[in-house]
Amino acid sequence: MSVLLYSSDTDEPRERDSYLTPHTLRSWLLTTDHKRVGLLYLFTIIVFFVIAAVAAGIMRLNLLTPRGDLVQAETYNRLFTLHGVLMVWFFLIPSIPSVLGNFLLPLMIGARDLAFPKLNLLSWYIFILGGAFAFYALLIGGVDTGWTFYTPYSSTYSNSNVVLMAAGIFIAGFSSILTGLNFIVSIHQMRAPGLTWFRLRLFVWSMYATSLILVLATPVLAITLCLMALERIWRVGIFDPSLGGDPLLFQHLFWFYSHPAVYIMILPGMGVVSELIAAFARKRVFGYTFVAFSSLAIALIGFLVWGHHMFVSSQSVFAGMIFSFLSFLVAVPSAIKVFNWTATLYKGSISLDTPMLYALGFIGLFTVGGMTGLILAALAVDVHVHDTYFVIAHFHYIMVGGMVTAFMGGLHFWWPKITGRMYPELLGKLAAIIIFIGFNLTFFPQFVLGYLGMPRRYHAYPEQFQVYNVLSTAGASILGIGYLLPLLYLLWSCFYGRRVAENPWNALGFEWETASPPPVHNFEKAPIQRDEAYNYAEVASTPGAGLS
């Protein structure tokens, strides 16, 4: 059971001045406070999430019947492209880094703000601009190439709004780059006294590793989209074989970014899970150093595996073998993390609050996703399941079962810090369970479908696949309800939730040593790190220590 602590001078926490206090629109739109920028990102990505989720809903409804007669094939293509583009670039990639990372990073390192606060605000405006382009492209008909924009279809044959959408993604990429740059410099230069690298929170380590990827991979995407767009505009053939080009060059350049991008879409989640496990097992994360180095290892090795998306594209077999081997290798640091989280749970003092439910869900679902990744990394097996629902199930287990679950867990854990109010715990647990059930019902049948041979991105399918599709769609409806609940009760809690004091979870960390919500400059007095992170054992043996 979590224990709520109250400030010593009052019985009940009450409203006081905080970073939320100025209420004007102008104060929000011109803010350089990292906490507000984090919230600006939160509001924005929720909008994109809802649009992309509705698209998925329509797709799943269409797939209830084998003939796929809800929408036309053309429309279906535009729907899955919309879903992929928005979910990847306008929801997942910014999700934890730009929301929780922005809010928590300076707090966790004991700083007043990030290194470049104005650049932070600029990154949000750039994100909005990119989003506006993408949104406009959708309004006037969308794109039908898939989020992967493979050439020469995207550069020559497609009749949809490719250049406009590419422009939106190109612009949004700069937002990623600036965020990553800000995080790297902040973590290097602005840590509190006593906060050495190996005393950093594991969330900070994961933000650092993510930022490395953001900074080194995103520029390659920028130039790739640029070349594809120019090919389309000027009708040249860098990627078009009939004009002297090579479509595989596009795929190499695209996946050089997009594979590390998927690590952008899991590393932050892993960072959150480390925090949740430590807090709700009241135990220092087992093998802290291994977990920290694993984050870096995933970021580094993640740059070496992109060819596993191209096993059947006529890439050289030799290259395929190298990429396959490296893809097996990248699973190792991820597995190390799972083992360490599990070891942390062992003999921990576990409380099953909502954030912990999400963390535990993450461990299970991510493990399934990760192991099916290994299956896909095996060259011979991939020939059979490439471009089938097996792949779709794999990456949804990681991105939704993993990352989105972690995001929900983190959102609930830090909600009282962000808003000063607690969400309704019973509803929280209920939603977490509904999400878990809905998710598995949606995506597990898809493993079977893929293995049996149902291709992805098809609006219709052979009769014999219907039962699995119906199960999947049923799951999707449950999943939808699961995500709707937090949207409603979190909003409700902003106005009617119980107010909390500094440390409602009795957790360890700089962010829990300041008010909920924090003052504008984060801390009344600059914090000093005096011992290791997650010092729960020390605290437990010293009565009254570590509690505010």
Partner: protein, 214 residues
């Protein structure tokens, strides 16, 4: 001398931290630019390896004199920019403004020469698109070369233009005492950017103009 001396931004503890953060930030940004242009160089290298002969032939249409002069112009501008940073740190404000102005003029000269080259290529029909001078499969390959020519030099030119603009703003900031010997970070950071634009050209020039022989 104005009292607007070392301005410490509120998120930093001291000026040294601010300076280090600013420098590190610019180097990290340059790393992203390395990957940006690098990917373009990779695309060029791969495409060239598929059409070595056509690319070598096409490259002979480029004006090597203009390219060489432009390289020397950029080197000189880097020289004057480096001197400007040194001059600011020694407090020689007039010299700083003079040197930066020379950098701007040289940058403008580069763009003018480039513009002249572009015009020539346009007139000769070597701009990619429907009106390309050479047709057929061989023509496609030549067109690919020129696509890369225009993208590589074009993106480089855009970056140079930005550097020019930033340097002009810096001259104004120095004249109005907002950038001073004790608050020199904006100049140092933008000088790094200027040198980087030079570095990109150091690779663009031989890859486009020289490789393939004359």
């Amino acid at each position: 001398m104005s009292t607007r001396a070392a301005e410490l931004a509120e998120q930093f503890e001291d000026v040294a931290q601010q300076r280090e953060a600013s420098t590190l930030g610019m180097w990290v940004f340059l790393a992203t630019e390395v990957m940006f242009f690098g990917a373009l160089f990779l695309a060029f290298s791969v495409t060239r390896s598929l059409h070595v002969e056509s690319f070598s032939q096409a490259a002979k249409h480029l004006d090597i004199l203009a390219g060489t002069i432009n390289t020397a112009v950029l080197f000189t501008s880097s020289f004057t920019t480096a001197l400007a940073v040194s001059a600011l740190q020694q407090g020689q404000l007039k010299r700083v403004i003079g040197l930066l102005s020379v950098s701007i003029v040289l940058g403008g000269l580069f763009l003018a020469i480039k513009g002249h080259e572009y015009h020539e290529k346009w007139v000769e029909g070597f701009f990619p698109g429907n009106a390309f001078a050479v047709s057929g499969p061989a023509g496609n390959e030549v067109e690919l070369f020129f696509l890369f020519y225009f993208i590589l030099t074009g993106l480089h030119g855009i970056h140079l233009l930005i550097a020019l603009g930033v340097t002009a703003v810096l001259v104004w900031l120095i004249v109005t005492n907002r950038v001073t010997p004790t608050r020199s970070m904006p100049l140092e950071a933008s000088a790094l950017y200027w040198h980087f634009v030079d570095i990109v050209w150091v690779f663009v020039f031989p890859l486009l103009y020289l490789i393939g022989g004359r």
